[in-house]
Symmetry: C2
Subunit: 232 residues, 2 copies
């Protein structure tokens, strides 16, 4: 049994990673980040998800809470106030570079590491996956490996970075999550209806931004209807 401090955004990937750990019998301390993101609805989604899941796994899930970061990130459409700044289309497009938040994962992973060392947990978990590699430098395997190496050296005996989706796309992640839900006897649709993925952060998910497009493709791949409601 491992004790994991998990970066938990309330999106599809980190929710699936939470399920992974529940399925593996690990203890998970969830951490959410508010960093000025336009789609801060994801944090409320994370809270709704925890309200739903914690009573079912009271001995496995505990919540560190929401970490409000000061204004350290600049130059990204994700921290704009205007949903129209968010580019539409697929992640494999040049215009998606606008959504890069400088070194976001570096800041998140190191805060998770500080919490993990302080609480004497043994690893941190992040849900970076293959679809993020193209435009996000701080999601690439060579970066994650280098940061894992640095974090391992920051304490003794050292903590690990656990990033099991690094070589998986969202479809593969969702297919695995379906099976974990089945084996844990929990309701897949109830869980994923509470997740939030859209970058625009409006009342309904837009269905057009890179994040929505990739999510919809994943549900299509596994042959399920996304339980979240879309604008179009």
């Amino acid at each position: 049994m491992h004790k994991v401090v998990l970066g938990f955004s309330g999106g599809l990937d980190s929710t699936s990673l939470l399920l992974y750990h529940l399925h593996a019998g690990n203890s998970v301390k969830t951490v959410q980040f508010l960093y000025g993101q336009l789609h801060d609805k994801e944090v409320y989604a994370a809270q709704r998800l925890l309200d739903y899941l914690m009573p079912q796994f009271p001995r496995q899930i505990s919540d560190f809470g929401v970490i409000r970061l000061p204004d350290i990130f600049s130059g990204s459409a994700l921290i704009s106030n205007d949903p129209d700044d968010i580019p539409e289309g697929h992640y494999h497009q040049k215009n998606m570079e606008k959504t890069v938040v400088p070194n976001r994962n570096g800041v998140f992973m190191n805060i998770l590491a500080s919490i993990c060392i302080g609480l004497q947990y043994d690893k941190i978990g992040i849900a970076v996956h293959q679809g993020d590699h193209f435009i996000y430098h701080d999601c690439r395997p060579e970066y994650i490996k280098a940061m894992e190496n640095a974090i391992m050296l920051s304490s003794f005996p050292g903590i690990k970075v656990h990033c099991p989706f690094l070589d998986s796309d969202k479809g593969k992640i969702l297919r695995a999550a379906l099976q974990w839900c089945d084996e844990l006897k929990i309701n897949f649709d109830e869980i994923y209806s509470r997740t939030w993925t859209c970058y625009k952060g409006q009342e309904l998910a837009c269905g057009k931004c890179g994040s929505c497009v990739e999510r919809l493709e994943a549900f299509h791949t596994v042959g399920r209807k996304d339980p979240v409601e879309y604008e179009c």
Copy 2:
């Protein structure tokens, strides 16, 4: 001419690093951190130092300001509310381990990196030095090198971590600072009287904690009286 985002605590080391960059003709953006440290007086010291130095170097120094971090650090005497929790003696003693703040430099360096990338500066600066190596894992050369490698990969074309005091003790740093002050025609005593080093954060520096002991040794080494007032 380089553009450097500098972790600036208001202590002896980072003040000396600021002087290093002024002497080298670089532009410096200073960043202070409030993270629950008992010795938060260092942040006010940093502000007093900037008030003194900025008018003399208006084109080289700009201040990002104070970053208030949420409660992510635990298990360290440095973030206790009680000065009596701070161990006395030399850094090369086992009891100084109480002053370890888990992965503090990892969090600081990654926040500096996010600011640096966002502002299109070219490096981050930190004043880690040889005296920190014994008890602080996140101050050791192998750690700094590993984190530099990770941070370099977090953006394109990448930013550097500049840590010129890594192999110097406080005496060597102070000797160099004396020369920089001389060549810059600025007043060494006026500057160092505004620095704050003591971990206890009381009205006067205690002169007994590891941080004070090392500072006093450094002034003794260079044959100068420390312009800061001590309790004893």
